[in-house]
């Protein structure tokens, strides 16, 4: 990384870094602190509930993406393949397993403790089921709690579904948590946390929606993945999260007042040339390189589906202190990957229109069925409904073998030239009419 210039850091970034440092410090000292550890996934997570039992959550897919960013994933994936995982298996899974095989050292260099509970709260990605089956074998005897989240096949959430989810929480999840933590379920405490959740969610929506301004003060994909960090993981429902989002929102407001463009590791984007909506997760192994291609072209991502995997708050959902378990149920069912394809198309179509995007781009992930299924249909629908040029590139989450810089750059260059031409044509048509 020595060739890169020092990345620009804002105060919110420093705060987030400190939050993460504390989180992993606590994890490494879980035993000494007498805390129990719950492994769970980001989409449809029950973070407030876990925290209300004073337990510490660990998110394996976050560890995998962190390993990808730290250039560790190739080695971890190789080790998982050595013990028999196929080339086609989700690379988050292999990276996570490989990390565990190598001593389970987390992003801060500290050891992540083994799980005291495996909480499978989201089942929309079927790989998650298999992933935890594997973890169960790696940690024999660890209790498993499963919460089955019904898929939004019809695009609506019914009372029955909510009752079904609440029933599972009361009969399966909470009893297991009580057993593991040795504490009783505290309804009032959970309810109180939800107040914080809703506050942070309000702020996050304001931050993400600031990208509706032209030019946009933020990048809602590459920078967006940092913005969603605390609320999608261990901090939802905490005062720290509220403080972080308050600070971030202040920074964004300042940028708006000063008329500044998005912050990137290469510096501020001076001239916004293209506004894009992006579908699909980013590539983590070459994250900065990938981002720089967009930076060099003056392309700003104004909205993305990936920043909705841990909650689609801009569509109105908030955690509700009045009915904590019901709102957790609704939250789980409402995350982006649990929405049916027509809902996703509609959301993305609205993004293109509301955020005044020039184009729609898909980064298709080689090893992620959950995201990739339906992407070509989504692309065609958006092309027709929103009348913007669409682009399609392929890479992977954390397997560096599937990131081909020249191929991606070649496609993106072509795509940006397409957008540029279209702009000229539209301008010409506007002046001739």
């Amino acid at each position: 990384m020595s060739s890169h210039k020092e990345a620009i850091k804002e105060n919110s970034m420093i705060i987030q870094k400190e939050m993460l440092a504390k989180q992993f410090k606590d994890l490494s000292m879980a035993k000494e602190l007498g805390k129990k550890v719950v492994y769970t996934f980001v989409p449809g997570n029950l973070t407030e509930l876990i925290l209300s039992f004073d337990m510490l959550p660990v998110y394996p897919e976050i560890n995998a993406l962190q390993s990808g960013m730290r250039k560790k994933s190739a080695e971890y994936i190789r080790d998982a393949e050595k013990i028999g995982f196929s080339e086609d298996v989700c690379t988050y899974v292999k990276c996570d397993i490989g990390m565990m095989l190598n001593g389970n050292i987390g992003p801060t260099g500290e050891k992540i403790p083994p799980p005291d509970l495996l909480l499978l709260s989201y089942t929309g990605c079927f790989t998650f089921l298999k992933w935890f089956e594997n973890l169960e074998r790696l940690y024999p005897g660890v209790p498993v709690a499963m919460l089955h989240t019904p898929y939004q096949e019809d695009g609506v959430m019914t009372e029955d579904q909510i009752n079904y989810m609440v029933k599972q929480m009361k009969e399966e999840v909470i009893p297991k948590m009580e057993m593991v933590s040795g504490q009783k379920y505290d309804h009032a405490r959970l309810s109180k946390m939800m107040e914080n959740s809703a506050k942070a969610e309000d702020l996050l929506v304001k931050i993400l929606e600031s990208a509706k301004l032209v030019p946009s003060p933020i990048d809602a994909y590459f920078a967006g993945v940092y913005y969603i960090g605390p609320i999608f993981t261990a901090f939802r429902g905490t005062q720290e999260a509220v403080d972080y989002y308050t600070e971030l929102w202040n920074e964004v407001q300042q940028r708006i007042e000063l008329g500044l463009g998005p912050v990137t590791p290469e510096g501020e984007i001076k001239e916004e040339k293209f506004r894009l909506v992006v579908e699909g997760p980013p590539n983590w192994t070459n994250f900065r390189e990938f981002w720089k291609i967009f930076y060099d072209m003056g392309a700003v991502i104004v909205a993305s589906s990936y920043t909705k995997v841990g909650g689609v708050y801009d569509l109105g959902f908030r955690h509700d202190p009045k009915e904590p378990l019901e709102s957790l149920s609704k939250y789980c069912m409402g995350v982006y990957t649990n929405m049916n394809l027509p809902q996703r198309v509609e959301m993305l179509e609205n993004y293109v229109k509301e955020y005044k995007a020039d184009g729609f781009l898909i980064n298709s992930i080689k090893s992620c069925n959950s995201f990739s299924a339906g992407q070509l249909m989504i692309m065609r629908e958006i092309e027709q409904r929103a009348s913007v040029p669409v682009g399609f590139i392929e890479s992977d989450l954390v397997d560096p073998r599937y990131f081909s810089y020249s191929n991606i750059k070649n496609r993106l260059e072509s795509y940006f030239q397409m957008l540029e031409q279209r702009k000229i044509i539209l301008k010409q048509e506007a002046t001739t009419i």
Binding site: L376, M379, R380, E383, P389, V390, G391, F392, E394, Y402, S404, N407, N410, R411, E413, S414, Q417, M418, Q421, R422, I424, I425, Q428
Partner: protein
């Protein structure tokens, strides 16, 4: 002074150059194999396009005379061929120097060196007249016309005639010499070279037998005789026109580079365009109603959707694997020990299509040998193979949104008749009989043409579609 515009398409296998005039008409085409040195490949393609442009300007200048004198046409065609030979000869001498140089560095022992040099001289003596004859009598036919391919084929033939122990040293000398010889741009003086070609042509006609031999066909004879009787008169009349185009100052007003190697071209940044846009724009220029473009090049297949302006709305390309592209065919041709241009015609003879995988080039080669051993006919295997390539392209087309009327097929592979056969068949099967399928003789030049057209517009939009609407109004 007339203005001309240049487009260079630096592909993974071949480099193409196209020169257009201010009416978007192609007046010059140049093509060469892409070599390790991209800028030499681009220079050679461009030089060739400029020579070719001079010839087409010559034809244009004397269009009327040609109509009345068919012998003029014959003379110009012959001259173009001999002119190519003159260039070839210079390159061959250059290669000769390189072979000698390699021989000197490889063999310290004087005796051994002498023997090798002797063989090299003998090899050269054996094939030089054959190649000359091929050029002078247009015998190169459908074979690849690139210097490297022509010479390597003949060199190989001669080496194979020698004893086995010589094979390895002689082939090593060849491998070490061909690249430096090929990677050097030879600057020709057009006028000097064309005069040489005219002298050579004169010599050819003077020495033609008066009566036809049994081997020559009647047609061939008739064409020859057309010129033979009045050669001097034709030659004298055309000389002043030829000198005129040789002296013509060629003003390239703007240029665009595209293709895989575009970033390496010594062009300013705003003169570099994506090949996807260029192919689409070229296809749109020739067939303005094009909505879907399929381009199969050396290493990638692109399915492109275009709007009424010729602008790309979406595209899909093969990712991670280039099986089913031009190079795949090249590999198969090597496996079968035939030239790449013979593949298509042979596949056209198929009585059935043997199922063959198109997902991996190397495996397809192995499968091919296996099927041959099982007694399948080569033609049928090739039929299956060509169908498999198109099946692969069809899935890419489906990903890009399907085929819309009209459909234009571009790229080097579009010259292959079997590819065209199966493409037509499968497009009709999948998207209906009414789809109009366009394939142009210049399909390999579409990217370069699109580039030249971008160069002419320099982004001051002057679209063919707009022009068409104006014309209609």
């Amino acid at each position: 002074m007339y203005k001309y515009y240049l487009g260079v398409d630096l592909g993974s296998t071949t480099s193409k150059a196209v020169i257009i005039n201010e009416q978007d008409e192609i007046i010059g085409r140049g093509i060469t194999n892409t070599r390790s040195n991209y800028s030499v490949a681009a220079d050679i393609a461009r030089d060739e396009a400029i020579y070719n442009a001079r010839f087409s300007i010559l034809q244009k200048n004397i269009q009327k005379e040609i109509e009345f004198n068919p012998s003029y046409q014959k003379y110009i065609a012959d001259l173009a061929s001999v002119f190519q030979y003159e260039q070839f000869k210079v390159r061959l001498d250059r290669l000769g120097e390189e072979l000698v140089k390699t021989c000197h560095t490889m063999f310290a022992d004087e005796e051994k060196r002498k023997i090798m040099l002797g063989h090299l001289i003998a090899i050269r003596k054996a094939f030089k007249p054959v190649i000359k004859h091929d050029y002078l009598y247009n015998n190169l036919g459908s074979k690849n016309q690139f210097f490297r391919d022509i010479v390597s084929e003949k060199y190989n033939e001669e080496v194979n005639k020698l004893e086995m122990s010589l094979f390895e040293p002689l082939m090593t000398i060849w491998d070490k010499s061909i690249s430096p010889a090929e990677n050097e741009r030879v600057q020709f003086n057009f006028k000097e070279l064309i005069h040489k070609a005219m002298d050579e042509l004169k010599h050819k006609y003077k020495n033609l037998p008066d009566t036809s031999t049994e081997n020559t066909s009647i047609n061939f004879d008739a064409e020859m005789n057309l010129l033979k009787g009045n050669f001097d008169q034709v030659s004298d009349t055309l000389r002043k026109h030829i000198d005129e185009i040789a002296d013509l100052e060629f003003n390239i007003a703007n240029m665009t580079g595209t293709g895989y190697g575009r970033a390496l071209l010594p062009f300013p940044e705003d003169c570099i365009r994506s090949e996807i846009l260029c192919h689409a724009f070229g296809a749109h220029a020739v067939f303005p109603d094009t909505r879907t473009v399929l381009d199969i090049g050396g290493q990638d297949t692109k399915a492109i959707q275009v709007d009424k302006h010729g602008l790309v709305t979406s595209f899909q390309m093969n990712d991670r694997c280039a099986a089913g592209c031009g190079r795949y065919l090249g590999y198969i041709a090597d496996e079968m020990s035939i030239s790449i241009n013979e593949l298509g015609p042979m596949a056209m003879q198929a009585e059935k299509e043997v199922t063959i995988c198109s997902t991996c080039t190397v495996f397809a080669g192995a499968e091919l040998r296996e099927l041959t051993n099982l007694g399948e006919k080569r033609e049928d295997i090739l039929g299956g193979l060509h169908r498999a390539i198109i099946m692969r392209a069809m899935s890419l087309i489906a990903r890009s949104g399907g085929v819309f009327n009209e459909f234009t097929f571009t790229g080097g592979v579009a010259r292959n008749p079997a590819v065209i056969k199966y493409l037509t068949q499968l497009v009709r099967e999948n998207y209906g009989e009414s789809i109009k399928i366009n394939i142009h003789t210049d399909s390999i030049f579409m990217g370069a043409l699109g580039g030249a057209m971008f160069a002419r517009r320099n982004l001051n939009l002057d679209l063919p579609s707009v022009k068409k609407v104006k014309e209609m109004a």
